[in-house]
Amino acid sequence: MKTKQRVVSVKANPRLSEGYAVARKILYAFLLLLISGNVHAALNVFACEPEWAALTQQLAGNQASIYTATGALQDPHRVEARPSLIARARRAQLLVCTGAELEIGWMPVVLRESGNSAIQPGSSGNFEAAQYVSRLEVPTRLDRAEGDVHASGNPHIQTDARNFLPIAEALSKRLIQLDPANTQLYQQQYTAFNQQWRVAIARWEKQAVSLKGVPVIVQHKGFPYLNNWLGLKQVAELEPKPGLEPSAAYLGSVLNELQQHPARMVLRAAYQDGRPSEWIAQRAHVPAVMLPYTVGGTPQATDLFTLFDDTIQRLLEGLK
């Protein structure tokens, strides 16, 4: 309807229509120029954690220039708003973070100091992965006496491979929104990833069948999504409260508890200090299993696929 109106009205005055057409041509040429300028310039992405850098890499290929703010051996709760992070955020066009308050200790300062309006919360350049998955352990009681709890639920969503499906879909849409010139590329990348990922999930679930119902101890409440996915049964935590260091007395009480409810292994993330796990593992005579937790956490976890290959491999070895 709207095009029809336009065509007829243009016909009404040939002289005007010519002027109009010229103006349009110039406009299109200008837009084309802008777009073509972007064709070679890669999208500047600031990924808060390595798993989101890896996912962006899967979905954007060479079209994105990705900076990863934290390493796999860094506690993502405890990062400083270092000058380098502020400088990298300054030019970022897209921020890909976990959200759910995981980065609350440093991201607000980085965003504020960056002077970059494109990536502020609520703008299309700010992508929070946790928004696209169902979060577990949303506290009913918000009190610091409970330790370092996250008001919007447990943010360690990257340990369930299934979570990457909706996140990838949303992130791909966001890439297209920010860089429409490469829509086709992003769509192709997404379709390919989605297919491969579904196949991989089926494979991992098959491999991990024997893990179902296996009782485990965790060092930090960092694995509810993994437990939920593979059916591991968490019987104890080594941190008395989330984020608080375990004391010897507390570890002793956990050990006593284990006599009643024996576990098969102690899990910890690569970034965590191994001593509490080792201490319990020796006394309870169960293996201490270190999981990569994110891409780069172990030498084997080089991308998203090998991250889960290695995670399941290590869990199965712990079972032996």
């Binding site: 016909k11 390493g71 504020r112 100091e113 002077g115 299934r162 949303a170």
Partner: protein, 461 residues
């Protein structure tokens, strides 16, 4: 359709004015044509507007679609809390309260200034025995999409509230530009912007105590620009009324009373090292700055009162370097920082509020400190302070009474250890050998707690 529409309009016009139509002249026809032309333009404008609105609506719905819940394959009944971006605190501002108290044990009277700095600020920030420190109430929130507001009130233990910070900050200027207006801690140096609860020691370095009255706060505006480079390069400037020492609070005058320029550069070296270095300049005009208890060459008991008016210019260098194995600051880290400030003052000094003559002096000071977190929750730190009161050139009229050369460099060595049960609490022991007053060395012991409750904003580097 358009043409049809225009003809209808024309017809309607004709019908509505049949007499005129009958007597239609060329001029009338021209008027009608113009009217039609106007209508047409109007019409086209509206179509374009509608098109734009449609595009916008489409874009919005696309966004909404992407935020909309995605069916999750999880078997359990998972909880979803809100689909919007998580914010610091709903619509209520984030409120925080810092509680702090100390126990101080030392001999020397804190009213005696560091040797050679009797005409500078002298507020050590600690007292003998058990005492409550200032409680710091902080409120902050986004005001609208353009501005964010921050206010920090210091509740003095003896009663009374002072406004420590109260500023608005723009967040959407883009292009690396940051604007602050109101009362804020100046961006000069490294320690100046840090709030007392984030200090690594109970008190500030001596150079901050004497040259900045521990921390310089300004009423004014600050503009910063961050360069679009991979390395952190930031330049900024401030204009203020000269409220904070060494300013003398410019009153009943237009214009600004103090100016600051600063530049910072910083970066990472690998994932384990990070650093920042800076350069600062501060300038103010001091007017009738009165100092009491200033020692003189005549050894007047209790000292005399002097008045100074003149220019004050300060330059500073600062650096900080941090190291953490694997970049994981939760386990262990090492921080090394140092700052140097040099101030030149020149103008007229009125000795004993009676004899006025020229006076100029260059004073300086520096500190170097290191803090090491040797295991989670436990940190220890060492700091060395030194001041140089300089040699003043005193006008002839005052040459016989104003001390020009103290020939003593105040210094201090401080050690601390603190235990942090969580990110929100800290217990500290500090020991210091204070040699800042000539002939009055002091051994100091402090115990301190610092706790923060409520919303706790992210800390600066």
């Amino acid at each position: 359709m358009s043409r049809y529409f225009y003809w209808c309009v024309a017809l309607a016009v004709l019908l509505a004015n049949p007499l005129n139509a009958l007597a239609a002249t060329d001029a009338d026809l021209q008027a009608i044509r113009e009217q039609i032309q106007q209508l047409k333009q109007n019409y086209e404008q509206r179509i374009t507007q509608l098109e734009q609105r449609l595009q916008q609506a489409e874009a919005n719905s696309r966004q909404a679609e992407s935020v909309a819940p995605q069916a999750q394959t999880a078997a359990q009944q998972p909880t979803r809390s809100g689909t919007g971006a998580s914010s610091e605190s709903g619509f209520n501002p984030a409120v925080s309260l810092i509680l702090s108290g100390t126990y101080g044990q030392f001999k020397q009277d804190t009213a005696v200034a560091a040797t050679g700095f009797a005409m500078s600020a002298n507020n050590p920030g600690y007292t003998q025995g058990l005492s409550l420190k200032e409680s710091e109430l902080g409120i902050s929130a986004n005001i609208d999409p353009q501005f964010r507001g921050v206010a920090t009130f210091a509740l003095a233990p003896a009663g009374g509230i002072s406004v420590e910070n109260a500023f608005v900050q723009s967040s959407v200027l883009g292009n690396g530009i940051n604007l602050k207006m109101g009362r804020f801690f100046s961006g000069l140096g490294y320690l100046n912007e840090q709030h007392a609860h984030a200090w690594d020691f109970v008190d500030q370095p001596l150079v901050y105590r004497v040259l900045w009255d521990n921390q310089i706060g300004e009423d004014g505006l600050q503009l910063k620009w961050l360069a679009p480079t991979d390395m952190f390069v930031e330049v900024g400037g401030e204009l203020g009324r000269g409220r904070g020492f060494p300013g003398t609070d410019r009153q009943n005058k237009n214009g600004a009373g103090a100016g600051v320029l600063f530049a910072h550069v910083g970066d990472d070296i690998g994932i384990e090292h990070s650093w920042r270095a800076g350069l600062s300049l501060h300038e103010t005009r001091r007017v009738n700055a009165v100092s009491t208890g200033v020692p003189d060459l005549l050894s007047t008991a209790g000292g005399v009162s002097n008045r100074f008016s003149g220019d004050s210019r300060t330059a500073g260098l600062d650096f900080v370097w941090k190291y953490a194995p694997n970049g994981n600051i939760r386990e262990r880290y090492l921080k090394l920082q140092g700052e140097y400030f040099r101030r030149n003052e020149s103008g007229l000094l009125t000795y004993n509020l009676a004899t006025t003559d020229s006076y100029a002096v260059t004073q300086s000071g520096w500190y170097l400190q290191s803090v090491y977190q040797f295991m989670p929750n436990w940190r220890t730190g060492l700091r060395y302070d030194q001041l140089d009161p300089g040699i003043a050139s005193v006008g002839a009229l005052n040459a016989g009474n104003v001390i020009g050369n103290y020939a003593f460099n105040p210094s201090r060595l401080t050690w601390m250890v603190d235990y942090n049960p969580s990110e929100f609490s800290r217990l500290r022991l500090q020991l210091a050998r204070d040699n800042s007053r000539q002939g009055l060395p002091d051994n100091q012991l402090f115990l301190q707690y610092i706790m923060s409750l409520g919303a706790h904003g992210a800390h600066q580097y």
